[in-house]
């Protein structure tokens, strides 16, 4: 239980570090999405729904955006990945990455639609598209950080 919580905290902090032009303005929930995906596939029993919800809520509170937006998006992403765990666990790294891309695309689309509804205006899709691209590119890098934890999971 400590490992998922610790990795979530690390992802949260990494998301908030001012990377500036390196990753565009606020590459926010990218690391969290990857971490949530990792634990949903590897050991969902170690990561209950509440920490996922709270991590998203903290992102919402700190960002100044709609409170509940990322809490809900992250939660639904986690539940969806957990439902498909049986399929995902059999996949190789590349296929799993492809599945992650599909999941992030859908989550990004959902968050964008919800945010547009919240603000009663069609938000420009450019930023969220860029966020999805950054998250997808970050996936293998962040997996290098998470990979050592897999040893504890199998043990």
């Amino acid at each position: 239980m400590l490992l998922p919580a610790g990795s979530m905290m690390l992802a949260l902090l990494a998301s908030l570090v001012p990377l500036g032009s390196l990753a565009g303005q606020g590459a926010m929930p990218g690391f969290l999405l990857i971490t949530v995906f990792f634990w949903a596939v590897e050991r969902p029993g170690w990561l209950p729904l509440l920490p996922v919800f709270l991590a998203g809520l903290l992102i919402d509170l700190v960002s100044g955006g709609p409170v509940g937006l990322w809490a809900l998006s992250l939660l639904l992403f986690y539940v969806a990945v957990r439902r498909e765990r049986a399929t995902l666990i059999k996949m190789g790294p590349s296929a799993r990455w492809t599945a992650f891309i599909a999941g992030v695309l859908l989550t990004g689309l959902f968050a964008w639609a919800l945010a547009s509804l919240y603000y009663f205006t069609m938000l420009p899709p450019g930023t969220i598209t860029w966020q999805v691209v950054v998250t997808v590119v970050l996936y293998p890098v962040w997996m290098l950080v998470l990979a050592p934890m897999r040893r504890f999971v199998t043990d």
Binding site: L16, P18, P66, V67, A71, Y118, L123, T127
Partner: protein, 364 residues
């Protein structure tokens, strides 16, 4: 544990998990609705979260900053020769501008003296560092490590070395959130020069904020400089914002001076709008005078009326009543026909005052 017990425990666990999922979804939706109503509790929670996150981020970001600075240094050294030549050219150009600026400074001082212009109130500032880019894909905001304890307050303008960055929208004890000019909710009154056209700079989560409600009487062009106008009294006037760019659909946007570069250190401006004026009242010379006594009734015709001055002496006679003036043809200004104007008059139809013309530059 036997098989039936295990099955019951499994079902109970699944039921609990499903119930908690439904509860959390409902809770998130409720939070979204509450946030839409700008609930006080949510704002307070945001402040607490900012105060909690910023010191941690400050520590965590240090190695990242070191690496980033290292990359920046390497980038600088890699084009040292080119940048040196470019800077030399800029210095040569700046020398001419310096002389020109001195000349204009003297001229401005002379005009201000002539017009008795009151100088702007001194603006104090607090320097802070951007510690987190928290906005995400739907919010353009950053966290600065200056909070209530340092004197920051909601509404304060934030600038960097290039120009206006945004304004503070939430303040914790040790940190504040700065809403950038590009954010969907950002609205800043601006002035476009030359011409002093007033407008509102409205962010829409894109790179270049829109120009809205521009006073159309003044022509503006691409590359015109955009400054804060100071309207509303929240942000001081004259802060550089960016330059005007034209879009294909005919609208105007602004290329921000603080746009493409990484924001690092900023200044939070403590601007106090000079709106503290005394309550309206009688002039000082009349404050100690005895109460005014109404004049006695006078016959409607014959001798002119006699009034009583504040001291009670019936001494001053008014002039006979002036007959009413017939109304002017226009409520704003008398109408002058074009044929009445001399051919070289500034307002003559054949000589419109265009930007750059002599008529437009008569203030220089």
């Amino acid at each position: 544990m036997n098989e039936p017990s295990r099955r019951i425990a499994g079902r109970f666990s699944a039921l609990t998990s499903r119930a908690s999922l439904v509860f959390l979804i409902v809770f998130a939706v409720a939070l979204l609705l509450l946030g839409r109503a700008e609930n006080f509790m949510i704002e307070k929670a945001r402040e607490v979260a900012i105060d909690w996150v910023v010191p941690v981020i400050h520590t965590v970001a240090s190695p990242f900053n070191l690496v980033r600075d290292l990359f920046d240094e390497v980038a600088v050294y890699s084009d040292l020769h080119e940048s040196n030549a470019r800077l030399q050219a800029e210095v040569d150009e700046m020398k001419d501008w310096k002389a020109h600026a001195r000349e204009l400074e003297l001229k401005l001082a002379r005009y201000e003296a002539l017009l008795n212009v009151q100088p702007d109130p001194s603006i104090n500032y607090i320097t802070g560092q951007i510690v987190a880019e928290t906005g995400g894909p739907f919010v353009e905001a950053v966290l600065v490590d200056v909070g209530r304890e340092e004197g920051a307050a909601s509404g304060d303008a934030v600038i960097d070395g290039n120009g206006l960055v945004g304004r503070i929208v939430a303040t914790g004890d040790k940190a504040s959130r700065v809403l950038l000019l590009t954010d969907l909710n950002s609205r800043v009154p601006v002035m476009i020069e030359p011409g002093e056209a007033r407008a509102v700079l409205a962010g829409d989560n894109t790179r270049w904020p829109k120009i809205e409600y521009m006073s159309s009487s003044v022509p503006v062009g691409v590359g015109a400089r955009v400054f804060t106008s100071g309207d509303g009294g929240l942000i001081p006037p004259g802060l550089p914002v960016g330059t005007l760019i034209a879009m294909r659909d005919g609208s105007w946007r602004v290329a921000l001076l603080s746009g493409d570069k990484r924001i690092d250190y900023v200044r939070v401006l403590k601007y106090i709008f000079p709106n503290k004026v005394d309550q309206p009242g009688p002039p000082d010379s009349l404050k100690n005078a005895p109460p005014y006594k109404a004049p006695e009734a006078q016959p409607t015709s014959g001798t002119p009326p006699v009034v009583t001055d504040p001291a009670g002496n019936k001494t001053k006679k008014l002039a006979p009543p002036v007959p009413p003036v017939p109304p002017a043809p226009s409520a704003q200004a008398p109408v002058i026909m074009p044929e009445d104007l001399p051919a070289d008059a500034p307002g003559a139809p054949d000589a419109p005052a265009l930007p750059g013309s002599d008529a437009d530059q008569r203030g220089d």
